[in-house]
């Protein structure tokens, strides 16, 4: 089953308290070469049938209108997953 992957990140200029908390945990584990963490979202849209350009356009539209809020987030990627890399949940 093809999967469209949408990746969303908080805007670079905004404070990301969740990412900051994760960075704090990493530092407490003693790894100080990792200086900063930003925490975003990955959506996997499972498709019944083939992914054509029209459906990719729909996915891009959904990414912009629903899956992200342009005031606080950026859509960084909308792409069809390589089956080997998509998590199937199986």
């Amino acid at each position: 089953m093809p999967t469209i992957v949408v990746e969303v990140m908080p805007k670079a200029e905004l404070l990301d308290p969740a990412g900051k908390a994760v960075a704090g945990a990493i530092h407490r584990l003693g790894e100080n070469r990792i200086t900063d963490v930003r925490l975003g979202k990955r959506f996997e849209l499972h498709v019944d049938g083939e992914v054509d350009d029209a459906l990719l356009d729909t996915a891009r539209q959904l990414a912009a209108d629903l899956l992200s809020n342009g005031v606080i987030e950026d859509v960084v990627s909308v792409h069809v997953a390589d089956d080997a890399h998509a998590s199937t949940g199986a």
Partner: protein
């Protein structure tokens, strides 16, 4: 004629009953509205209450903003009907593009609950016309994602057009830019804020004041304001 104020219940709403109680204490008739219907039941004004609608999945208020009844709420708001969004309701208004900007996780990362002092910056709205400009009020604040943000151009426009309705005083509890606690729209019928006026409407159950414990009722003016507005129309 009794003014009828609808309160929308979403899955995960917490403060819908409190909002209905506040409406009743102000002298209006509360009307329960349901997120899954397309029926405003002929109400004169609408409150979107606090809580964690749809579990705050995706983003706070994001899924609620696209629920069935919001189509009618958005139409009514654009037609001039008074709409008040409290906390999660404010997040819903922002996600529905009825107010600009966005709300993100508190800058310190913690959920916060405190009795919060606010300054009323705009009395030109359906929900604030009973205050005096510059009046300081105290109502409860309780949220995890109350940090108000917008780009500089939007912030400058909000300030320039007098659309900042409430500002935090003494303490900025969540990192909101320019201490913004609440906004109104250009027409003044839509107001959204993070703190909770519906929890400060009855002596014995509100914030402490200098006079007595839990005697604060500053929130009641939101609901009496909309009565005045609705009677005038």
């Amino acid at each position: 004629m009794t003014v009828r104020v609808g309160v929308v219940t979403f899955p995960g709403s917490l403060d819908d009953r409190d909002a209905m109680r506040a409406v009743r204490l102000a002298g209006a008739e509360p009307v329960a509205l349901w997120h899954g219907e397309h029926d405003l039941k002929g109400v004169d004004a609408i409150v979107l209450p606090g809580g964690f609608s749809y579990g705050d999945y995706l983003r706070a208020g994001a899924i609620a903003a696209r629920s069935p009844i919001m189509a009618e709420v958005i139409d009514a708001a654009n037609g001039g009907m008074p709409v008040l969004g409290i906390c999660n309701g404010f997040q819903i208004l922002v996600e529905a593009h009825l107010l600009p900007g966005g709300l993100i996780r508190n800058d310190h990362g913690d959920f916060i609950r405190r009795d919060q002092k606010l300054r009323v910056e705009s009395t030109d709205s359906a929900w604030t016309n009973g205050f005096t400009a510059g009046q300081e009020i105290v109502i409860p604040l309780k949220n995890g994602e109350g940090g108000y943000i917008a780009d500089d151009a939007t912030l400058d426009r909000l300030e320039g057009e007098g659309l900042v309705a409430f500002r935090y005083v003494d303490v900025n509890p969540n990192g909101s830019l320019r201490d913004i606690a609440g906004l109104r729209n250009e027409r003044g019928n839509v107001v959204g804020l993070m703190p909770h006026p519906e929890h400060a409407v009855e002596a014995g159950f509100g914030p402490d004041t200098d006079l007595a414990m839990r005697s604060g009722t500053d929130g009641l003016t939101f609901f009496t304001s909309v009565l005045k507005q609705s009677v005038l129309n």
